[in-house]
Assembly symmetry: C2
C-alpha cells in the first residue's frame, strides 16, 4: 500500500500524508472507512507513532480525514475537503500548465490529457 523512501529528501510525515490522500482519492479507502491506527501504521512502516500522528493532523487540516479519540481516524467526505486545498490545486494546475506550454506543449494536448487520463496510463 504505502511506500516510503527513507533516503528521499521529503519528510516521512509528508510522504505518509500524500500516500494516504492518494489512497482516498483513488477509492482504495472509501469515505467513512477507518484508517489504520496510529500505532498500527507506525508498526507496519517501522517508524515512530508520533510521525504518523503528524501525518493525520495534516490530513485533518486539509479535510481529508477526521479523528475521534478512542475510536480511530476515518476518511472524510469529498464535500468536507477544505476550500484552501481546492485553491492550492487550482494554483498548482495553472502553474504546471503554464510551464508545459513554455516547453512547447500545446494547450489542446494538455486538455486532451486531462480528459483521457485514466484510460491510457502509458507515456
Amino acid at each position: 500500500m504505502l511506500s516510503l523512501n527513507l533516503r528521499d529528501s521529503r519528510p516521512i510525515y509528508e510522504q505518509v500524508r500524500d500516500g494516504l490522500r492518494r489512497l482516498i482519492i483513488t477509492g482504495a479507502i472509501p469515505p467513512g472507512d477507518k484508517l489504520p491506527s496510529v500505532r498500527t501504521l507506525a508498526g507496519q512502516l517501522a517508524i515512530n507513532p508520533n510521525t504518523i500522528q503528524r501525518s493525520y493532523e495534516a490530513l485533518e487540516r486539509e479535510g481529508y480525514a477526521y479523528s475521534v479519540p478512542g475510536k480511530g481516524s476515518f476518511a472524510a467526505l469529498p464535500q468536507d475537503v477544505t476550500e484552501k486545498r481546492r485553491r492550492e490545486l487550482f494554483g498548482q494546475l495553472d502553474a504546471v500548465v503554464q510551464e508545459l506550454v513554455y516547453l512547447g506543449m500545446g494547450r489542446a494536448e494538455i486538455a486532451k490529457r486531462c480528459m483521457d487520463e485514466g484510460k491510457e496510463e502509458t507515456q
Copy 2:
C-alpha cells in the same frame, strides 16, 4: 521581481529557484539573457550569496539555466530543459487532475481551464 517569505516553511533557495523559473517561463527573462550575479541578487534580497548559488545549481540541474565561470549565469533554451523535469510536470498534472475530479470537478471544466488560462485570471 522576486518576493521572499522569510517566515514561510519553504527554504529560501527553493523560493528563489521557483521565482527565477517563473520569470523565465513567463518571458520576463528571455532565453539567453543574463541572470543577476550571485552576489548582486544576494544583495538585493538581503540574503547570503551561498543561498543564491544553491538556487542556481538547482536551476542548472533542471536545465533552465547554465553558468559560465567569469561570465555569469544565463537562461537556457526551452529545448535544454531536462526530460526529468518534463516527467515531473506530467506527474504533477495527472495527480492534480485526479484529485480535482475526486472533489467533484468535471474533466471538461478542467480541460477548459487549461485552454482558457491566460485569458481570465480571476477565480
